[in-house]
């Protein structure tokens, strides 16, 4: 296996009242899309900001191509923050041009504009863009130096479904250029679609890491049964079942569907609203952390 493009060793970030990152280690191979997943407050933004070199760790180290983060890393990394405002009164093209001027090497401004489908918006004031257009501009800025490593911190949060899908297509086109991507998200469909490898974080630690399919296979040989919470009586909670609570429903994982259904019928649990489906990443997260992802 080749040397990882980015490696994190024993990372700790201690704030006065909370340890946001607690001894985290991971390695990101070159050319993949790596997903860092976790609920709000799991420490993923703190972790990614330390990996981006804009936040100091309390202890531990981050290495880019085997060396500590230095000017080379800043020249070769592209970053899309969760939220970034740009300078007022500048057009889309001028904003991109300004950032292009900060790097020694990179793409032509027109090429970046085309890559992010901003041709028709190039002369528009950057304050007059919709959420999806704004995010495409920020992605363009993250791409001006033709980065070998691109950080995307919750890139589609707050976008409408269509804008999210458009943005995913853009990210897939960047993946096709063999760039390494590190993505944080709390949308499991996004992670399943885009990521070759994921790490699930909780309370500042990684609780599972690997390709999504493999993780699902390791944790779920079973199927999922979903019932509305109101259909699940309190007395049924003592049944010999693996039950996970979420906000509106009760989920049961099982590798023996017949027996589970018989137990539920014997306990007179109404099954008219029962839904059976294979496990997904959201189930994996709930299994590992016991939390609702979008809480």
């Amino acid at each position: 296996m080749s040397e990882p493009i980015l490696e994190v060793r024993n990372l700790v970030k201690q704030y006065p009242s909370v340890k946001a990152v607690d001894g985290l280690s991971l390695a990101v191979p070159e050319g993949i899309c790596f997903g860092l997943l976790g609920p709000n407050g799991a420490g993923k933004t703190t972790t990614i900001e330390i990996m981006e070199g804009i936040l100091d760790a309390t202890s531990g180290e981050v290495r880019y191509r085997g060396a500590p983060l230095d000017q080379r890393f800043r020249e070769e990394a592209g970053i899309l923050f969760q939220k970034t405002a740009l300078q007022d009164f500048l057009t889309v093209r001028q904003s991109i041009t300004m950032f292009r001027g900060l790097y020694q090497r990179g793409l032509d401004v027109d090429e970046v504009i085309r890559l992010c489908a901003l041709e028709k918006l190039a002369e528009r004031d950057n304050r007059k863009l919709s959420g999806g257009q704004q995010q495409r501009l920020l992605l363009a800025i993250a791409l001006v130096n033709d980065p070998a490593l691109l950080f995307l911190d919750e890139p589609t949060t707050g976008l409408d479904p269509q804008a999210r899908r458009n943005f995913w297509e853009l990210i897939q086109s960047i993946k096709a250029r063999k760039r390494t991507l590190i993505l944080t998200t709390h949308y499991m469909d996004e992670a399943e679609l885009l990521c070759d490898e994921i790490a699930i974080m909780d309370r500042g630690r990684i609780v599972a890491q690997g390709p999504p399919r493999r993780l699902l296979h390791e944790h779920f040989a079973e199927v999922m049964l979903e019932l509305p919470k109101q259909d699940f009586p309190a007395s049924a909670r003592n049944l010999p079942l693996r039950i996970i609570d979420s906000v509106e429903r009760v989920e049961i994982t099982t590798d023996d569907l017949d027996t589970t259904l018989r137990i539920l019928l014997d306990a007179q649990v109404p099954l008219s609203n029962l839904r059976i489906r294979p496990a997904n990443l959201e189930d994996l997260f709930l299994e590992l952390t016991g939390k609702e992802l979008r809480a």
């Binding site: 936040l55 000017q71 405002a85 740009l86 300078q87 007022d88 009164f89 500048l90 001027g101 900060l102």
Partner: protein
Amino acid sequence: MMAGVTQRLRAVWHARNLEFVRDRSTLLFTLLLPLMLVVAMGFMFGGKDRPLFKIGVLATSIDKQAHPFLRERYVEFVPIASQAEGIQKVTHQQIDLLLDLHGTPRYWVNTDSPKGYITEKLLLASAAGAQREPVTGAAVRYVDYLFPGILGMNMMFSCLFGVGYVVLRYRKSGFLKRLHATPLTAFEFLTAQVLSRLALILFVTAVLYAGIGAIIHFHSAGSLLLLLLVAVLGALSMVALGLTIAARFSSEELVGGLLNLLTWPMMLLSGIWFSLEGSPPWVRWIAGIFPLTHVLDAARAIMLDGAGMAQIAQHLIYLAVTAVAFLALGAWSFRWRYD
């Protein structure tokens, strides 16, 4: 390496210039406010005739019993602390005569001044043996005295608030954090801000100098190039001071309060509106701390007295030293993030 620094500086500098020039309301305000002030002040204080003759007396207070001349009607007698100060005022026709009644009476009169001519006749009527010390010099109108003050005040606000609030806004919006993720260094960012603001201030000040100078028929007695040097060093010092205030803090209220804490004493004590000559030494000592005081003293010495480099060297050195010190302090304490 150097090419990279220059390229990054130019990118940030150019973008900041665009942002400022396109912010039409701010640009208009920056140009109009001082223009309106000078015209208003010109109307209020620029009248050619004063209602009284004004005679300076070398004394700490006026004792009307000291000499019969001091009891003349329609003449205002004002105490003057030092002979040099008094002679300068006679030269600029800010007083019509300077009188020294210690021993044999002496007086200084401006031979170019019609009012000096009349007050001299009045004096000689009651002090025939007084010793005459002629001086010459054109009248300095209040509006002429005020003109450098208004330019300096505009420069001060533009330097302190313009840069301070821009950096604060960038920090709050997350723009600084985004820049931190690029190869740009804090020193490069601050230098680009200083240069951008310096270019704008010099442009605005030059426009104001030419425009207002034409309205009030002002002509500098000294070198315009030297005046430009004062403006450059003064702006650098005050922009760097503004950056120092904004380098670390994230609260608009705090930064606004600190900037006000700086600008108000400068407004009152740096000599924008009136000369501090004759004020208590501690007031002048405090005034001497402010860069604006040095800008105005140097600018007035050039514009009104035709001073050369040697006479204003101390002010130039003070402004250069404070510019470097404030910039170093700002770069050292600079914070990219909004916490």
